[in-house]
């Protein structure tokens, strides 16, 4: 399982999984963007490169997903594919990422607008042999 959605009265919440933190971040992006549009309907003709640094994995996840929402809105994009590489040095986490998608069109059937990523319940945790990332979105 790459991710699962949790029940929440007003907002949307999910847990994403991955064998690595990179993979958990990719799956978190897929879980979030999958709420906006069916990725099967979205091509990958446009891409955006994303570079971020943060002091903790949770902050990095918050920044990564917030950046995707920002880019989608200002460039009128929907995303379907993601790549992430996270490195750690001197206590800082750095993310090099790429999000691919295309300009939003009416036939994408976008029906959900996500306002923002929240810090509520936000966690990135290493289990025995996999990572878990939980996120609550304000919708």
């Amino acid at each position: 399982m790459d991710f699962k959605y949790l029940e929440h009265t007003a907002d949307a919440e999910f847990v994403a999984y991955g064998r690595t933190m990179d993979e958990a971040f990719v799956n978190a992006a897929r879980a979030m963007c999958g709420l906006i549009v069916d990725p099967a309907k979205v091509g990958a003709s446009e891409a955006r490169e994303i570079s971020l640094t943060a002091g903790a994995p949770e902050d990095l996840l918050y920044d990564w997903l917030s950046e995707l929402l920002y880019l989608a809105e200002v460039d009128y994009l929907v995303f379907s594919q993601f790549e992430v590489k996270i490195t750690k040095s001197d206590g800082e986490y750095s993310l090099q990422g790429r999000a691919s998608g295309e300009k939003v069109r009416p036939d994408h059937g976008v029906s959900l607008h996500i306002k923002a990523v929240t810090y509520h319940d936000l966690r990135v945790e290493k289990r025995d042999n996999y990572y878990e990332a939980q996120v609550l979105l304000d919708i």
Partner: protein, 479 residues
């Protein structure tokens, strides 16, 4: 009913004891009827308790009867903080800064509009873009204009031909909140705000044509210019991507600040900073700028609504602004605390200011009656106009509810409720709904919300605002 750690204090008042959670500085107070508390989530009670752990909180961490689980503060949360010892928290305001609602009263009577609502709502839907996805605003805003909008809100709108000067007196903060500072707004928030001014947004935002069904308080109704059978228009929207980005940016800043100032957080979304700190002052400047953006937004939309009605009827119609209230905001206000007048930072997250007669913040025309409180119902249900009271000043820092409050998640709504069927059911009741797609209707279906009448009955019985008028929908355009 979940196993809630609450005790009943008196009719419609429940307390979350200060001992419920270590670190609570005050008890919590939840204003709910015995019936409504049956549906309360334990997570919402937890969030009231979390609010109470914040430094400098005064009297009680409070939740209005439309309370439901959110993040940081619950929706319906009200918290007032001491200016010296207290904090400000973006999570106590929310992402949609100054999400709010305004009411226009028209000179039209129900009979003047009967049979025409379908055509008018179609026209409104066309004239007011939702601005979501590929659709963009009709306005072209440059950087200099955007700075003015952030700094002066609705005043910018009026000076540029959107609306009239009298409208400003009938907006909370005169639609131009002091302390707004565009220089504290990030480039990202500007980039999101620029193409979206004059757009409704999605989710629970709407434009609605209504008729005044019932007047409860004829004196206040007269002051507000409302009478039975009169057609009104309600506009519910906020600060769009600009506000969302301002909050996103500052939650991150506050996360660091809370650590720096040694504030223990039970929920990281409660990230906050002492009101005396630079971080707090920067956030306040940016938040007030976001609030001003929302007032300008509702002003521009109201202007287009007036134009659309004028176009339809072939003449200028009188459509005065009754009032415009903010639902998500933090403000410096003077309140009595244990017999002493104090300036406090009052956070309202999904709550409405409900100031008493005589307060200087209430417009001159309404000062004898009290501040109008506009409560939007959920799609297809009634809305209310209430009036602020002295009881609210004494009990809730001059606050009341803001709407019905959700009881069903969006995903559950999508499973249980079909948008097309709801549209048909509402049409049978004479209510037209236009929306971008059936899903947008299903997510906001009447049954996913608490009963608005029950919520309003609680605040009316408590006296923290009193019923003035009940408005019923004729046609809705959903964002």
């Amino acid at each position: 009913m979940a196993n809630l750690n609450v005790t009943k204090v008196s009719e419609d008042i429940y307390e979350v004891p200060q001992a419920a959670k270590p670190g609570m500085n005050v008890p919590g107070r939840i204003f709910l009827s015995d019936r409504l508390i049956q549906g309360l989530e334990s997570g919402a009670v937890e969030q009231v308790a979390n609010m109470a752990t914040l430094p400098g909180i005064q009297k009680y961490a409070m939740a209005m009867p439309d309370v439901h689980i959110g993040y940081g503060f619950p929706i319906g949360g009200v918290g007032a903080f001491d200016m010296e010892k207290g904090v400000i928290s973006p999570g106590g305001v929310g992402f949609d800064i100054n999400c709010g609602v305004r009411l226009l009263r028209s000179e039209l009577r129900h009979e003047d509009i009967a049979g025409k609502t379908n055509a008018i709502i179609d026209l409104l839907y066309k004239e007011v873009p939702s601005g979501v996805g590929s659709e963009s605003s009709k306005l072209r805003v440059n950087d200099a204009v955007l700075t003015e909008v952030f700094n002066h809100g609705a005043r910018w709108a009026v000076e540029n031909g959107y609306g009239v000067k009298e409208d400003l007196e009938h907006c909370e903060e005169n639609g131009d909140m002091k302390g707004a500072d565009a220089s504290k707004v990030s480039q990202k928030a500007r980039a999101r705000g620029k193409p979206q001014l004059g757009t409704l947004g999605s989710g629970n935002h709407f434009l609605e044509i209504q008729v005044v069904e019932k007047i409860y308080d004829s004196v206040a109704a007269k002051a507000f210019g409302l009478e039975e059978g009169q057609v009104t228009v309600m506009i519910h929207c906020g600060s769009r991507g600009a506000g969302h980005q301002i909050c996103t940016d500052y939650v991150r800043v506050m996360e660091q600040a809370a650590r720096k100032y040694g504030i223990k957080l039970y929920d990281r979304q409660l990230a906050c900073a002492p009101l005396t700190s630079k971080e707090a002052q920067d956030y306040y400047g940016a938040m007030a700028a976001g609030a001003n953006y929302a007032w300008a937004n509702r002003h521009v939309i109201a202007h287009w609504v007036r134009q659309a009605f004028g176009k339809f009827y072939g003449r200028d119609l009188k459509m005065d602004l009754v009032y415009d209230v903010a639902h998500n905001v933090a403000k410096y206000e003077e309140h009595d605390v244990d017999g002493e007048k104090k300036t406090l930072c009052v956070h309202r997250k999904g709550a409405t200011r409900a100031f008493a007669p005589g307060r200087k913040e209430v417009p001159a025309a309404y000062r004898d009656a009290g501040q109008p409180v506009i409560i939007p119902g959920s799609m297809g249900s009634a809305s209310y106009v209430l009036v602020g009271t002295q009881k609210a000043m004494e009990t809730t820092f001059g606050s009341t509810c803001h709407g019905a409050g959700r009881v069903m998640s969006r995903s559950a709504a999508l499973k249980d409720v079909r948008g097309a069927e709801i549209q048909k059911e509402l049409a049978q009741r004479g209510i037209t709904v236009v929306a971008p797609n059936p899903r947008a209707i299903a997510e906001e279906a009447p049954e996913v919300y608490k009963d608005i009448d029950a919520v309003v009955d609680v605040v009316d019985r408590l006296g923290i605002s009193k019923k003035v008028a009940r408005l019923v929908p004729l046609a809705v355009a959903k964002g």
